[in-house]
């Protein structure tokens, strides 16, 4: 009885602490975004509620916020789509074709994803400038797709290997080409995995900072995270209010996305682990 009680206390306080700890910056972000002045705590006037920051964000053409937002959405969307496409073709071949040392290959792939991003930025910058891809969507979509590929591959390999071979054979006999088998049978069967991969790739590309900072110099392809970081006031001061408003606008859709689809995502990520 007593032990049960303490367990509960521990659990509840743990959850509360974690929730507070992780959400405080977000709450602070939202509060500041609605404050007339960012250092409202130190002012005599205190907190004054205003939507001025949001109006500034969307109305001031010099901030290019809408450009950044569009860039982010297009680049992330394409990266995620391309990732799912390539990763599912790769995962399908890996699980279906006789392939020596499959697991070594997969470990190798995973190993690549452990590299720090900074280790390739110099090389990446050279390549992209030689190809003339600085400040273009393609210039960001390519590295994003490559970077998120290992994780996507792992998720989809674990899904596809759970689909019995006889389903493929049946599809072949029913008249499917390899491609039709992949898109009409494998994709629907691995839907949660495909979905998770898409969302994770999208979120990664949406949040990514370093590549975007390096490979863009103006609003033509610059994404929101970099754009926000480089916001400047008229006289060089940092416009905290606008920054927080921009952060709120860009974070909320992602948070909502994760909350709505959390079941799918957790299922997608743990599937391999549970199945062994």
């Amino acid at each position: 009885m007593n032990e049960e009680f303490w367990k509960k206390v521990l659990l509840i306080s743990g959850i509360t602490f974690t929730a507070l700890f992780t959400s405080t910056p977000f709450i602070y972000m939202i509060i500041v975004s609605f404050a007339e002045s960012a250092d409202f705590l130190g002012r005599r006037t205190g907190f004054i509620l205003t939507v001025e920051n949001y109006i500034e964000l969307f109305k001031n053409p010099n901030l290019h916020f809408l450009d950044y937002l569009r860039n982010s959405v297009v680049i992330s969307g394409f990266s995620a789509f391309l990732t799912v496409l390539i990763a599912s073709v790769a995962a399908y071949s890996i699980t279906r074709l006789p392939f020596p040392s499959k697991s070594v290959f997969l470990m190798f792939v995973l190993g690549f994803s452990m590299f720090p991003q900074i280790s390739i930025v110099g090389f990446l910058f050279n390549v992209m400038s030689k190809l003339g891809l600085i400040n273009t969507y393609v210039g960001l979509i390519l590295p994003y797709t490559a970077w998120i590929m290992p994780l996507s591959l792992w998720i989809l390999v674990s899904y596809f290997s759970g689909i019995p071979m006889e389903i493929d054979k049946q599809a072949t006999i029913d008249g499917c080409t390899v491609w039709k088998t992949l898109f009409k049978v494998m994709w629907p069967l691995a839907k949660p995995g495909i979905f998770t991969t898409f969302i994770l790739a999208f979120i990664f590309a949406f949040n990514e900072f370093m590549f975007a900072l390096l490979l863009t110099t103006d609003f033509r392809a610059r994404t929101v995270p970099v754009g926000i970081a480089l916001f400047q006031g008229l006289h060089g001061e940092i416009p905290w209010g606008t920054i927080m408003a921009a952060s709120t606008v860009t974070t909320l859709p992602i948070v909502i996305l994760i909350i709505v689809f959390q079941k799918n995502i957790i299922q997608g990520l743990t599937r391999g682990a549970v199945k062994g």
Binding site: Q170, A171, D174, P188
Partner: protein, 363 residues
């Protein structure tokens, strides 16, 4: 559509070993025939089916559908499974879990781009044929084994395939359902008149379904024949023990010619056999051979004039209709079936082996 396999072989080569799964198999399935491949696990039955379906490429030999060459190792011909227009039913049914019964059956038609109203008619027709009209909008996970089986068969026949391939389709069903599905399958095949190649390791299934049966061992054909032929004249001890329940007794013996009469000598026992048996088997006097006799051709003799040998009862198994009795005879053990219920374990009995029903084998 006739199906002809000519010197068909399939090797699987992996790092550690080479498996010859199919070894020089030749056979011909007539138009509309129900042909069964029978053999123990691992003898290459599924591999033959996969070769016919085009899921595997032969490593030797040829496959003909009618006059059309669909696969040849030597001539480098390989028609893809899509273009062969065959249907296959797997042991696991392989229904598409994300599609309901209707869409499962419609799948092959949709892939070959039939018109939706034609698809509807075809699906309804086969659904009626297989008694699954009420299930059309259920998903595979909601169906029983027998229902899934019917859906898999419906999906297979909806395209009017040239050849119908079935890989142990009944082995996941319970005994009662298996018997009723067996007769349904047979009458369905008759009605459609489609050339059928059926794989099983169950000899009862093979005997009841097949117009003809090929018995396989280790990738090779041992014997091809009608069920009656295989039962009445098995060509070797493998086929002899594989066909028939309970299985035939097979014992090693010496073939003796003594004063113009032929005898089998085994375990200190001498059994006279008709000389015609020896002449037709072209075995030599004095050689070591095997002889077989089915349990139903051994009987218990109470009156001593008919009695041949004295044996002692080791065990009795009640099969309901009759009893399966294991008898120690000389230094051998032999099984027989009897309707008599008065026998006890350990009892000494006189048994009679019908010499006319003895089979002689070289190996």
């Amino acid at each position: 559509m006739t199906l002809r396999l000519v010197n068909l072989s399939k090797k699987f080569v992996s790092k550690s070993r080479v498996v010859v799964a199919v070894d020089n198999v030749s056979l011909e399935v007539n138009d509309g025939e129900f042909f069964v491949l029978l053999g123990p696990s691992g003898c290459g039955k599924s591999t033959i089916l996969n070769l016919v379906a085009g899921l595997e490429k032969p490593s030797g030999g040829e496959i003909f559908f009618g006059e059309e060459l669909v696969a040849s190792f030597e001539k480098k011909v390989f028609i893809s499974p899509r273009e062969r227009n065959i249907a296959m039913v797997f042991q696991s049914y392989a229904l598409y879990p994300h599609l309901n019964v209707y869409d499962n059956i419609a799948f092959p038609l949709r892939i070959s781009k039939h018109k939706e109203d034609l698809i509807k008619d075809s699906v309804n027709e086969v659904a009626k044929l297989l008694n699954i009209e009420d299930l059309l909008f259920a998903f595979p996970a909601e169906l029983s084994g027998g229902q899934r089986q019917r859906v898999a068969i419906a999906r297979a026949i909806v395209r009017r395939p040239r050849i119908f391939l079935l890989d142990e389709p009944l082995s996941n069903l319970d005994a009662k359902l298996r018997v009723s599905m067996r007769s349904d399958l047979k009458s369905l095949q008759r009605r459609l008149g489609v050339t059928t190649l059926y794989v099983t390791h169950d000899q009862i299934e093979a005997m009841t379904l097949g117009d003809r049966i090929a018995v396989l061992r280790a990738g090779k054909i041992e014997q091809i024949g009608t069920p009656e032929e295989l039962y009445a004249s098995p060509c070797n001890t493998f086929v002899a023990t594989f066909i028939g329940t309970p299985p035939m007794n097979v014992l090693g013996a010496d073939l003796i010619l003594d004063k113009g009469l032929w005898f089998l000598e085994f375990g200190g026992i001498r059994l006279e056999i008709p000389s015609i048996k020896v002449f037709s088997s072209n075995l030599k006097a004095g050689s070591k051979i095997f002889f077989g006799i089915r349990p139903e051709n051994i009987s218990i003799a109470r009156s001593s004039e008919k009695a041949h040998f004295l044996g002692s009862v080791r065990s009795i198994e009640n099969l309901g209709k009759e009893r399966l009795v294991l008898v120690e005879l000389g230094s051998f053990e032999i099984t027989l079936t009897t309707k008599e219920s008065g026998i006890r374990e350990g009892e000494k009995i006189q048994i009679y082996l019908d010499p006319d029903k003895v089979y002689l084998f070289k190996e």
